[in-house]
Structure formats: C-alpha cells, structure tokens
C-alpha cells in the first residue's frame, strides 16, 4: 500500500486544538517539513508532546514562537527562551516530565499498558498527585499512558508503506511515538520502494504509519 501523500493533504488533517506528538531531540530527528506546514496553516491551541521545545528557529520551537501552542508536555525547555517567556507570562502551560518517564508513558500508550512504576521523581515535585505503589519493599510512582491525536515523526529512509530507518542519533522518540497516536505521519528524508529496507533493520514499523510525506530537502 502506497501511503505517500503531498504536504497539502497532510496540512488538511491538522486542526485547531489537536494533541500532537512530535519526534526529535533538540531538533535532531524532527520532521521540519511537517512543522513548517503547521506553522504556515496557523492552527491554534495545540497541545504538543515532545522531548523538548528545541530552539526558537528550529523544530518544535517554531510552533511555540508562532503562538500556536497552549500546552506542552516535555522534559526540557531550556534551549528555547520563548517557551520560558510564555510560561512566565502565563501564555503557555508547561508540564515538565522526566525524560525517561516521558518515553515510558508514550510507550505505555502505544503498548496497551495501564502505566508503569518508576522510581524516578520520588521525593521531588514530580510525585505530586501521583499514586505511590510499593513493590518488594521499594516505593515507585505510577505513571500513566500518554496518547495523542497525531504523531509526527521523521525518518532518514522510509519505504512507501511507512517502514522507517532512523540513522544515528535521529531515532530518539520517533519509533515510540509512532505507536501512540490515532494518526501517524512520517516525514521521509528519502522515500524508497517497499522491500528496499532490510526487514531486520526496520526501526519504525509501517503497520503503525498512516501517511508518508517527502521532506523538502530530499526524497
């Protein structure tokens, strides 16, 4: 099945108020073409779930600067001053989550788990309003699943059925997020034919992917 669509068709799917997961780590392995399309469309009141808010001129940062985001669930906002400014000005809600916990929550959302127990955050403000569960004499926080309406991920090499290969440090949250949203779109740096990626080394499974969009620089 050929899942390649053009950027306009992608853009039509993004609506005001959606919850969107976006792959990448400080912009590395982030679907820039898809983000640019959302910036251009100008939809508002988005909730973004991502490792970080990148930089003012890169990745998720562009959505923040363009004031399209009402809430962000993330582990780090320190590299984007505008996120901090909007937070302090009361313009943006920021939920800070330990990075490993965020990864587990997204995975739980995609893997049908009701949650996971982690020691991370015990004794800190992260534990506020969370259930504590003792297993084998040790205390853990119950962290619950996260899902989104849409997941936007980036692949270095993507076949037309959505199987993706993420090279080097671009993998990060991409394969996880592909499992945990109702609509999954992968931006391909390079689109290849079905069968061109060795089935042993597919990193994001095409079965999770709804659409493939060619990145602007390549593909």
């Amino acid at each position: 099945m050929n899942k390649v669509i053009d950027i306009e068709k992608f853009s039509n799917k993004i609506k005001d108020g959606m919850t969107i997961m976006i792959g990448g780590f400080l912009g590395n392995g982030t679907p820039e073409t898809l983000i640019d399309a959302i910036v251009e469309k100008g939809v508002k009141n988005l909730t973004i779930i991502a490792n970080d808010t990148a930089f003012v001129d890169k990745g998720i940062g562009k959505l923040i600067v363009n004031k399209q985001v009402k809430k962000v669930i993330t582990s780090h906002i320190g590299t984007n001053k505008e996120t901090g400014r909007q937070l302090n000005a009361g313009e943006l809600e920021v939920v800070l989550v330990p990075q490993g916990t965020l990864a587990e929550q997204v995975r739980a959302g995609g893997a049908g788990l009701g949650g996971i127990l982690t020691p991370t955050g015990l004794g800190t403000i992260v534990e506020e309003n969370k259930q504590k569960i003792v297993v084998d004499g040790k205390e853990y926080l119950l962290e619950t699943p996260i899902r989104a309406d849409v997941a936007l991920i980036a692949g270095s090499k993507v076949d037309k059925s959505g199987n993706a290969y993420h090279t080097k440090s671009t993998r990060n949250f991409n394969p996880l997020m592909a499992t945990a949203a109702d609509l999954v779109v992968v931006e391909a740096e390079k689109v290849v034919e079905i069968g061109e990626i060795d089935p042993d080394v597919v990193m994001t499974l095409g079965i999770f992917v709804d659409f493939v969009v060619r990145g602007e620089t390549n593909g």
């Binding site: 780590f25 400080l26 912009g27 590395n28 392995g29 490792n51 970080d52 993330t74 582990s75 780090h76 906002i77 320190g78 590299t79 901090g84 937070l87 302090n88 920021v94 800070l96 330990p98 990075q99 490993g100 916990t101 990864a103 587990e104 995975r107 982690t118 020691p119 991370t120 955050g121 015990l122 004794g123 800190t124 403000i125 992260v126 270095s156 993420h166 090279t167 080097k168 440090s169 671009t170 993998r171 990060n172 949250f173 991409n174 394969p175 996880l176 990193m203």
Partner: protein
Amino acid sequence: MDKNLVKETIARRVALEMNDGDLVNLGIGLPTLVANFIPKDINITLQSENGFVGLGPAPLKGEEDKDLVNAGSQPVTILPGGAFFDSLTSFAIIRGGHLDATVLGALQVDEKGNLANWMIPGKMVPGMGGAMDLVTGAKRVIVAMVHTAKGAHKILKECNLPLTAAGKVDLIITEMGVMKVTNKGLLLTELNPEFTVEDIKKATDAELIISYDLKEMRTS
C-alpha cells in the same frame, strides 16, 4: 583561581573516579570536560541519553554529521563498538542500573545527598531533561561543580530549590576539594592545597566532617 583552571581542576579530579570498563554519562557543560582527562590506562564508555553509547570526541571542522549529535545538540562522533538506540532503550540503560556513574552539575546539593539542578521557581525553569532518571538510576552519582555561585553557598544543610532526586548523590567534587556523602554528613576527604580547611568551611553551608585521613586533592 582562574575560571578555566577551576573547571580543569574539577574535571581532572572527576576523571580519577573512573574505573576501567565503566559505562558513564557525563552531563552537559563542565562534566563533558571529564572525557579529556581520563587516565591512559583506563577505558570507559560514554553514554549519550539522546540515544547511543560509544560517544567519541568532537569531529574535525567540516566533518560534522547533522545526524550525529550529543544530548546538547553538538556534533560528535561514535567510537568502534558503539551503538545507537531509541529513547526507550536509552532510559532503560539509565534507570536500570547499567550506568556505573553519572557526572552532573548542581544548583544546590546538601548533606543528605539531595540534589537540585533543574529549576529556580519563577526565574529559570529549563526542566529536568534526563537528570532525574540519571541521578535515580546510576550506580554512582558524582556532582561536579564550582564550589559557590559567586560566593553564594551551593553546598547546603538542606536544599531549598525543588529537588532533582532525594538522597542520591555519592560524591561532590569542586575546585576546593572532594566531599563524600555519608550517613553522618559530608566527609571532606581531599582538599585543594590552594585552600585551607577554613576557606572551604566558609564556602560551605553544610557541616563538613574533616577526614582523619584528609589528603591533598589529586588532579592526576
């Protein structure tokens, strides 16, 4: 002390804590410098929480790869035997006790081994990133930092900033000395000969227990 010398002194001393075969995560900033001073006979493997082990030195100018960066978004390299993975695996390594040590900076650290390094309410809220998992999961947590913030105490009786983790710090290394977190409090085991015991006590809010066996701070 000169600012660069301060950093180098700390990084050199932290490097001596590494054991052959260790898997280590070095935080952004000062901790990253530790890699430059690992003794020649010691092999350690560096983990980068954005998704790989076998972190190598920065590439030569012009040889940067946009797809190969560290957790601070700087171009880096990977050494033979290294491997890339996703964020889930990265934090399974970190939380699962597979890291022999993590080296981080701090805004505050206290005599109970509490650490605060991720926010100053109402002022600066970068977020915890991977720090809470690192401090919770690593076998040894080493705080590497300048002893005071322009004279203001950072080593306290009790942290008053939001914690990164409670009671997880094992060792504090500053340009003034080396302090071990024990259940009796902070034990000063090494002192930089540039400073006196009085100097370091004055620069420290927490009570310092002076080791009977107090040594000169090593840097190699």
